[in-house]
Symmetry: C2
Subunit: 189 residues, 2 copies
DNA sequence: GTCTATACCAAGATAGAC
DNA sequence: GTCTATCTTGGTATAGAC
C-alpha cells in the first residue's frame, strides 16, 4: 500500500483510540492494532506519539472547520445557529473527532499540546465571530453547548439513558433534527 | 503527624497535580513530591493510584455541592442563577478542583472512572433540577457555561489574554462580579 | 514499505526496616 | 507512620532485516 494511504488509515485509527483513552492513556501499540500495522511502524511514520497526536488534532480541526464553512456557504439565512449546531452534532459520528479535541483541550498545561489546543480553539472562535457573524454572546452560547456535548460524549452518558434525569439532560443538550425543523419554521424556543 | 492530617495534605496535592496532568499523565511520584512524602507512602495510604483519583473526584464533588447548597440556602431569591454561577467560578481558585473533575469526565470510557464521573455529574444535575428549581433548559445552560469555563481553564487560555479575541472570549465566558451586581439590580442581560 | 527483535526507561506497587 | 530499596511490567523508540 502507498504510504500516504496507510497514513490516512493510521490517522483515523489514532483519532478513534485517542478519543477513547486520551493522549497519555493511549499506547502506540493500541493504535497499531487498530490500524492493523506493527507498533514500530506507527512510530516510524509519525516520529513520536506526540507528533501523531498533534496531527490528529490538526485533522480534527480541519474536518470541523470544513463542516462549518460548508454550512455557512449553504445557509446564508437566519437559522445559521441551528444549522451549525446540527452540523456539530453530526461530527460526533466521526469516531474520536470531538473527543480527541476535548482531550487536547484539557491538556493545556502541556507545552506543545496546550499551544496547539489554544490555537485550534481560537480558530473556531474567530470563525464564529468574524466569518459566521456571531456576536460574542452567541459565540459563547454556541461554544458552551458544544463543550457540554463533548462532556456528555466523553462521559459516555448515553449508557445511562434508562434514567429519566439522564434522558432529559441528553435531550436538552443535543440539538435534534426536530429542533432544527422548528427553527426553520420560525418558531421561538 | 496523624495519618488523617497527612491524608488531607496528600489529597489536596493530588487534586492539584491530577488537575495539571490528568489521571494517566500524573505519577504517584509527582503527587508524593507535591505532598512532601515518599512515593510508596502515597500508594500505601490509598491502595492504588486509581483509588486515589476516585477519592479526589469524590472530594471535588463534595466541595462543589457544599458550595452550591450554601448559595441556595443563603439566596432564596431571583438571582440564584447569577449567584451560583459566581460561586462556580470561585471554585476555580481551589487548585485542581474543576480540572480534576473535567479529567474524570473525559475518561468516561474507563469502567471505574467513567461510572464515578457519570454519577457525579448527575448528582449536580439532580441538584439543579430538583433542589435549586432550575428548569431543564436553565440547568442545561448553566452546565454548558460551566463546561466552557472548565475548558478555558484546562486550555490555560488565560495565558493568551493579550490577544483581543481571547480576551473577549474569556470575558464573555466567565461570570464577573460586575455581571452579578447588574443582576442584583434587576437589569436584563 | 513493513516487519521482528530488542534496548531502555519510567512508573506502580511491594517488602521490609526503623 | 514513614522511609529506602527494589521488583516487575509495560511502553516508546531504535536497529536492522526482508
Amino acid at each position: 500500500m502507498r504510504s500516504e494511504d496507510r497514513r490516512e488509515l493510521i490517522l483515523a485509527a489514532a483519532m478513534r483510540v485517542f478519543g477513547d483513552s486520551g493522549y497519555v492513556g493511549t499506547t502506540t501499540a493500541e493504535i497499531a492494532r487498530a490500524a492493523e500495522v506493527s507498533q514500530p511502524y506507527v512510530v516510524r511514520m509519525f516520529g513520536t506519539k506526540e507528533k501523531l497526536f498533534i496531527e490528529v488534532l490538526g485533522r480534527a480541526l480541519d474536518l470541523l472547520m470544513q463542516t462549518f464553512r460548508g454550512v455557512v456557504e449553504q445557509a446564508d439565512g437566519q437559522d445559521l445557529h441551528q444549522r451549525i449546531g446540527l452540523a456539530y452534532v453530526e461530527l460526533a459520528e466521526t469516531p474520536g473527532l470531538l473527543l480527541s479535541l476535548m482531550h487536547g483541550f484539557v491538556l493545556g498545561n502541556d507545552p506543545v499540546i496546550g499551544r496547539e489546543g489554544r490555537r485550534g480553539f481560537m480558530v473556531v472562535y474567530r470563525f464564529l465571530r468574524h466569518e459566521a457573524g456571531f456576536s460574542a454572546e452567541e459565540a459563547n452560547q454556541f461554544l458552551s453547548g458544544g463543550m457540554l456535548i463533548n462532556t456528555m460524549i466523553g462521559l459516555r452518558m448515553a449508557e445511562d439513558l434508562a434514567d429519566p434525569d439522564v434522558r432529559e439532560l441528553m435531550e436538552t443538550a443535543f440539538p435534534t433534527k426536530l429542533d432544527a425543523m422548528r427553527g426553520l419554521l420560525g418558531e421561538q424556543r
